[in-house]
């Protein structure tokens, strides 16, 4: 009995101490456990407080995905973005059970542009004016958000149950800050897109960037993270940071990390929403008026709002890339 009592006391004391230690253990300090098919969210424990960790796309794959940048025509930022998303997604697919890291077709920017020019018409018709692409629903001088959503869906791998590739035009009618918080949920451990990059229209629609992640206090895909900065890729620049025409209108380097404060206040980014009065990025004008404003309670389709093309959880057989989605996950207002 004495034997049992002496051992039992030490054991009980040990258990009590262990449970007490566990109460103070922070799970945020643990490396994130990554399933084999959800990779390249990079976390680390830097020497700082508060600390901001990177949540986003795998940089070596981003470098490959943007290797053919800059955009080959001055109005091909959307085309260049589609190509970057395509390349990245195929590399991901090929490294996670797929049989190839490249599509089996010509995926040059010019080939992508040609496909957008001749296919992808919405069920409600095509837009008129501007670049006159079949996949546009407006007279955009380049690729409008519908065209980019179609291109991203078309050019990426076929969806499977474990790796869906659904893309939609997301339209955030709230504010630059709320929209930024919303897109941050695309990055982290709890995403359907495995931290794939997204396309964001900036400067009122004049240009678009690739967004590949955020520095945040915690995993943005779980909600509640304090965002410190946003990682952007500018298709106007190449991998040597040379500008297409020698002028640096947006980023100074192809990959540039911006503070959230700058991202949401500078008009060259999201300091302004989509501007359909700038002469280059009008509202839709399809003949069947599906997304042609005005709408009850919402006078615009894109104008003044924050616009992206993102991978999401809405299957193509439910609502295809033809449908735009708002910040509440609802179909964008339509006629």
């Amino acid at each position: 009995m004495l034997f049992l009592r002496s051992r039992a006391m030490a054991t009980i004391l040990g258990i009590v101490l262990a449970l007490a230690i566990v109460q103070f253990w922070s799970y945020d300090n643990l490396p994130v456990v990554q399933a084999a098919s959800n990779t390249h969210q990079q976390t680390q424990i830097p020497n700082c407080y508060p600390c901001y960790s990177f949540y986003g796309s795998y940089t070596p794959w981003m470098n490959t995905a943007t290797s053919d940048w800059f955009e080959q025509q001055s109005n091909w930022c959307g085309v260049a973005n589609i190509r970057a998303i395509q390349r990245y997604d195929w590399i991901y697919w090929g490294n996670n059970g797929g049989n190839s890291t490249t599509p089996g077709w010509d995926n040059s920017q010019s080939a992508i542009f040609n496909r957008l020019s001749t296919s992808g018409q919405s069920p409600w018709g095509r837009g008129s004016g501007g670049a006159n692409l079949v996949s546009n629903i407006s007279g955009d001088f380049g690729t409008d958000p519908h065209s980019i959503a179609y291109g991203a869906w078309y050019e990426t791998p076929v969806s499977t149950g474990s790796q869906p590739y659904y893309f939609h035009n997301w339209i955030y009618k709230t504010s630059a800050l709320t929209a930024t918080e919303d897109i941050s949920t695309d990055f982290g451990a709890n995403t359907v897109s495995h931290n794939d990059p997204i396309s964001a229209t900036i400067d009122g629609g004049f240009h678009s960037f690739i967004i590949s992640g955020f520095y945040a206090s915690s995993d943005p895909s779980q909600g509640g993270a304090a965002l410190n900065s946003i990682v952007t890729w500018d298709p106007w620049l190449n991998s040597s940071n040379q500008a297409r025409d020698g002028h640096y209108y947006y980023n100074t380097t192809q990959e540039e990390v911006w503070s959230i404060s700058n991202w949401t206040t500078l008009t060259k980014f999201w300091g302004q929403g989509y501007n359909t009065n700038n002469g280059s990025d009008p509202e839709p004008n399809t003949p069947n008026h599906y997304y042609v404003p005005p709408f009850p309670n919402y006078p615009h389709h894109w104008d003044t709002y924050f616009v992206t093309i993102e991978q999401d959880r809405i299957p193509n057989n439910t609502y295809s890339y033809d449908y735009a989605i708002d910040e509440n996950g609802h179909l964008a207002p339509h006629n």
Binding site: A18, V22, R313, N317
Partner: protein
């Protein structure tokens, strides 16, 4: 009978001795007690951590079920139909918390002191592992000109510094907003300098003040005012600069951002001159300064 009593007494004493010996053996030494406690702690921690690991893997895998109807296996969450895209600011949600610019104290404003301040900052240390820089060049102060925009980026000076990797190549460039009045700084942006970027071999700024003075002399036949110093400056640029249909987009002198500054020199004739990144000398009326919001 006496023999049997004696025998039984001997047996009892023997039993007592054995019992005592047994008990002596079972007493744990202090070292054994501590070891037991440690082993118990370790066992409990192993069980708890193992449970945590298993549940983390299960959670990560929660959307990765294979085969079947794709729509049936996609769990709901951010990015689902009829589901708010984020955690704040949308219908029925609390407002998003205001942006924290991340100001940190910068009491001394010499380049060396600023370098030390930057190296200790949270943002600098947060990004170090991702971008692999190991040291900084000397920070350069870039003054904000014509700064009445109400936007912190344009209305404050900036400290800009290139950073080096372990091979001694420049691999990035940091820009910090400098609120001189309140002795504080905040992260503005970080640009990735790739190995094929010519700037990988150069410390910022990429044109020296001596070169700027030389260009003034050659192009305007002017020396700089004695006892004056060249300054790096930037200005809020006319937003038409970004409109490819506007003649403003042809401006090649730079100065539109702290990472792309121009040199301001006072000529010996008392007039201000600007040496652009295109190595051309300008006067103020040449600059495409924003008239309204930049």
């Amino acid at each position: 009978m006496a023999h049997s009593y004696k025998q039984s007494r001997q047996n009892a004493r023997s039993i007592d001795r054995n019992k005592q010996l047994f008990l002596e053996q079972q007493k744990s030494s202090p070292r054994q007690t501590v070891l037991s406690a440690i082993l118990s702690i370790g066992a409990v921690l192993a069980i708890v951590l193992g449970f945590t690991f298993i549940s983390a893997v299960a959670r990560t895998n929660s959307t990765q079920t294979a085969s079947g109807n794709p729509s049936a296996t996609i769990t709901s969450g951010y990015g689902s139909l009829n589901y708010p895209k984020g955690w704040c600011g949308n219908a029925g949600q609390a407002a998003c918390p205001p942006i924290d610019p991340g100001w940190f104290s910068a009491l001394a404003d010499t380049p060396a002191a600023i370098a030390s301040t930057i190296a200790r900052s949270n943002v600098f240390n947060s990004m170090r592992d991702q971008y692999r820089y190991t040291s900084l060049d000397v920070p350069a102060l870039v003054h904000a000109m014509f700064a009445h925009t109400g936007i912190s980026y344009y209305d404050n000076d900036h400290w800009v510094v290139s950073v080096l990797n372990a091979s001694g190549q420049r691999c990035g460039i940091f820009d910090f907003i400098y609120d001189r009045v309140n002795h504080r700084m905040a992260f503005s942006s970080y640009g990735v300098i790739t190995p094929t970027d010519p700037h990988a071999k150069l410390a910022f700024p990429y044109t020296s003040s001596a070169t700027a003075s030389s260009l003034l002399r050659r192009q305007r036949n002017l020396a700089i005012m004695p006892n004056s110093q060249a300054e790096l400056v930037f200005f809020p640029i006319n937003p038409s600069f970004r409109n490819l249909n506007s003649p403003t987009h042809l401006w090649s002198g730079g100065g539109d951002s702290p990472m792309n500054p121009i040199w301001l020199l006072k000529g010996a004739n008392g007039q201000d001159y600007f040496v652009g990144v295109d190595q051309r000398v300008y006067v103020q009326t040449d600059l495409p300064i924003a008239q309204g919001r930049p």
